[in-house]
């Protein structure tokens, strides 16, 4: 862990991952624009170019030869694209999208130079080269028709020149903006100007003018292209930035055509090259943020945990002094300090948790590519609608969610959304909609994967479950419609018979459910035949620290995450009825199944006469009451895992330190729920622990 080379390697991988993710996001925007037959935003293409360029640079430094080779080929292709030497189109986009996958695979390799990858990389590079440099039909050079002035034209870079031509071809009007900038803040001012004009106009270039300016300021001539009428542009800029002047189209081209391709060496320093901008941008981002290994945050959290323990120990020591009038004044002061200390601790913990939070958009954006790809493979049209991408969750949960969610997304496209022909026949829009929604609900985050496809056939699911022997025919008669839908979560229901290259990769819905349960979440399903399916995943915002209800069963303490608890009510044994052997109570006119934890855990319950409690818990759309002997109180606890050896013991999510080396096992409410509701008539009887 302390090997510096290893750290550097991790740094590289993290940065490369980020670049590839950014690349993937930008490509989707590009694809969207292309689908809508819009002109791709030139700044977007630049963004993509920069990502690839940076990736090439760092891959070279760290010996990721294949990544570097691909990035290099793509860089050429993207350069052709931004210089207008090639046109955007399906094949070009395919090649670009393909690169994302390739980068990710190559970055995951143990050996970044793996010789067996060379052939694939070479083939890909050939494919990239075959697409690049198909020049669009050449027309008369439009630049000559404008009085831009050869002094300006001669210092344009090839890229700026291309943008200028492109803008003219698109019928944009050219303007010359003269503005004075403070020398000390010139970079920021130009950046701000870029932001302002972005919607209205495109900045082709800017040069210092020969007039104007003094020691503190400089006058720049900014060459703008815009669709906005002159008057409007003037209203926007004049006064605030400087004067705007339209560059008229000339009837007679200038007699001396400027040399367009060569850049005089001396003038280059006046014009920032795109390369320089990249360097500046990345330097800035380095200064403002640091990448931190999540384990370091865990360590910090442990320290906070230890601090709280110290705090309660001090509290107990202070309490020992109570009653002595000599100390009354000091005790009051200690008490006040103690509370202040606790507040600060709470603040510290909240801030650390906050650092661990990342927006779900990080994982959602990966799906955009998968959806596009899956839809293409299956010849379906799918529109992905994402809401709540800013919803934040603990980094670990977001990471863990990627696979289960990916499965749900693929399922929705593979089994949910119908082919275009089917949809047309059913008078549905040809394009199916897949919605990924995320939002906060109390202390939980809800994520929905919703499609407007064919929905699930509940009866068919039941028949299949019976034919696979997962359910007896008699039992299946008792199932409600919801019960039949829930069968989809049974292991072994979706089997090889229907494996497709999309969703049948050996993981079924049961694995999705298990993974989400493991994170302390629940999955529920709603589906209308012919209308669509909605899978709802509910998860705690963070795993690390939870508010827990401390309860006593027999003589032992347990912690129950409060996120699952709805209320606690006194338990009256005479209210208990049994329905088919299951104990229930009636609460506010509704029947609530209950589960006595003492026999479940093989513990002897406290005196039956004593007042016991029912803790009503809620998971998804199910309710269950746990009968416990005593409510001890609420506490914020850090859940720690039980370690691999005990992980197979069902019903416990981990252990929490209550101070004084006293541990309470944390009940795994989702697991207990699924044991109770899916585990057959009765919970397995447990031998009392010796």
């Amino acid at each position: 862990m302390s090997d510096p080379r290893d750290n550097v390697q991790q740094e590289f991988l993290a940065e490369a991952q980020e670049l590839v993710e950014a690349l993937s996001r930008d490509l989707l925007l590009l694809d969207e624009a292309h689908q809508r037959a819009e002109r791709p935003d030139s700044s977007l293409i630049n963004e993509i170019f920069r990502s690839v360029h940076t990736l090439k640079g760092i891959a070279g430094m760290f010996g990721y030869k294949h990544v570097g080779t691909i990035a290099h080929a793509l860089e050429d292709l993207l350069d052709d694209l931004r210089l207008g030497r090639t046109d955007i189109g399906g094949p070009l986009l395919d090649v670009l999208f393909d690169s994302v996958e390739r980068f990710q695979r190559l970055l995951a390799l143990d050996d970044p130079q793996a010789p067996e990858e060379a052939a694939g990389v070479d083939a890909y590079v050939v494919a990239v080269r075959s697409i690049g440099a198909q020049p669009p039909a050449e027309e008369g050079d439009p630049l000559n028709q404008y009085a831009i002035g050869s002094a300006v034209l001669s210092v344009l870079t090839e890229y700026e020149e291309h943008r200028l031509r492109a803008c003219i071809r698109e019928g944009m009007q050219l303007y010359r903006l003269r503005a004075t900038f403070d020398l000390t803040a010139i970079d920021d001012s130009i950046e701000a100007l870029r932001d302002v004009v972005h919607d209205d106009a495109e900045i082709i270039t800017y040069l210092p003018s020969l007039e104007g300016g003094n020691d503190e300021s400089i006058e720049l001539v900014v060459l703008l292209a815009s669709r906005v009428p002159e008057t409007e542009l003037k209203a926007h800029f004049e006064g605030q930035y400087g004067t705007v002047e339209a560059i008229e189209e000339q009837k007679h081209p200038p007699t001396v055509p400027p040399t367009l391709t060569s850049i005089p060496p001396g003038s280059q320093s006046l014009l920032p090259e795109p390369e320089d901008e990249t360097a500046q941008a990345s330097l800035r981002s380095l200064a403002n943020s640091v990448r931190v290994d999540i384990r370091k945050l865990d360590d910090l959290m442990n320290v906070v945990g230890e601090l709280s323990l110290v705090r309660s120990a001090v509290g107990r020591a202070v309490a020992g002094l109570d009653g002595d009038p000599k100390y009354r004044q000091s005790l009051r002061e200690l008490d006040r300090l103690g509370r202040g200390f606790e507040r600060q601790l709470f603040e510290l913990r909240t801030r650390i948790l906050d650092v661990r939070m990342v927006p779900l958009g990080q994982v959602f954006s990966k799906f955009a590519r998968i959806v596009r790809q899956a839809a293409r493979e299956h010849d379906k049209q799918v529109r992905l609608v994402i809401t709540g991408a800013n919803t934040e969750m603990d980094k670990l949960i977001v990471e863990e969610l990627a696979d289960p969610l990916m499965h749900l997304v693929r399922n929705a496209i593979d089994h949910g959304i119908e082919s275009v022909e089917t949809r047309m026949r059913l008078a549905k829009p040809a394009e199916g909609t897949l919605a990924l929604n995320a939002y906060h609900k109390g202390r939980n985050v809800v994520i929905e994967v919703e499609d407007d496809g064919g929905g699930m056939n509940a009866q068919k699911l039941r028949e299949k479950a019976v034919s696979r022997g997962l359910l007896t025919a008699e039992d299946s008669q008792d199932l409600t419609r919801q019960g039949m839908l829930d069968l989809v979560f049974l292991p072994g229901l979706s089997t090889n018979a229907e494996v497709t290259d999309l969703s049948g990769r050996g993981v079924g819905m049961d694995v999705v459910k298990t993974n989400i349960l493991r994170m302390g979440g629940v999955v529920s399903i709603a589906s209308e035949h012919g209308i669509g399916t909605k899978i709802t995943v509910t998860l705690p915002i963070t795993l690390a620290i939870i508010r827990a209800l401390i309860i006593k069963v027999g003589a032992r303490l347990f912690a129950l995450p409060i996120s699952a608890v709805r209320e606690a009510i006194p338990f009256a044994p005479r209210d208990v009825h049994t329905i088919q052997g299951r104990k229930v109570i009636t609460m506010r006119g509704e029947t609530l199944p209950i589960c006595d934890l003492a026999p479940l855990f093989g513990l002897r319950a406290a005196d039956q006469q004593a007042s016991r409690f029912v803790i009503v818990c809620e998971m998804g759309n199910q309710e269950l009451g746990f009968v416990v002997d005593q409510l001890v109180g609420q506490e914020d606890v850090i859940i720690k895992s039980l370690g691999p050896t005990l992980s197979s013991v069902c019903g416990f999510a981990g252990a929490a330190d209550l101070g004084n080396q006293k541990l309470a096992l944390v009940l795994d409410a989702p697991a207990l729920f699924s044991e109770y509701f899916d585990g057959g008539e009765a919970l397995p009887s447990v031998e009392a622990h010796a």
Binding site: R556, L600, F601, G643, T645, L646, V649, G651, Q661, H689
Partner: protein, 165 residues
């Protein structure tokens, strides 16, 4: 957890120079077992124990050691030793089994012995049918000269404790 725990267990003490193997000898029931010192992280007085319902009988529960939750295994129960007149927990040794630290409850720690290579008789050379976690036995001369030698059963902690359920 320490990476690179020794699964191949009998590692001579690098400082000794003469190939001696340091072993922690512990008493379980009436037998003495030896754990290679290279796999033993710590010897503790038993901290407060939290039992884990529904776990197998050889698991005593979990303990907290410096913020980490450690599973505690009862050595006599695990080895199915008949123990008469069981004493309360004596000592806990923390053993590194590779991916996890496991607490092993023993009645008492006898000593740390430096075994000479010629004191060790490997299981593979013995005709007795021994469990796969027994590497071999070693004879240690008893402290009182009159008594017979003590027999120490050498344990491979990875084989004994790794992948317990």
């Amino acid at each position: 957890m320490t990476a690179g725990a020794q699964r191949a267990t009998l590692v001579p003490d690098p400082d000794s120079g003469d190939g001696t193997v340091p072993v922690v000898a512990v008493l379980a029931g009436s037998e003495i077992y030896g754990f290679p010192l290279s796999a033993v992280r710590e010897i503790l007085m038993p901290p407060p124990l939290t039992e884990v319902p529904r776990s197998a009988e050889h698991f005593l529960g979990v303990i907290a050691v410096r913020g980490e939750i450690i599973t505690l295994v009862d050595l006599p129960t695990l080895l199915k030793l008949e123990v008469l007149d069981r004493q309360p927990l004596g000592r806990v040794i923390l053993v590194d089994v590779g991916d996890e630290l496991i607490g092993v409850a023993v009645d008492r720690v006898v000593q740390v012995s430096q075994l000479q290579p010629d004191q060790i008789e490997y299981a593979s050379a013995m005709s007795a049918d021994l469990s796969e976690y027994v590497i071999g036995v070693a004879r240690i001369p008893s402290e009182s000269s009159s008594a017979v030698d003590q027999m120490v059963i050498l344990i491979d902690p990875g084989a004994l404790l790794g992948g317990l359920t």
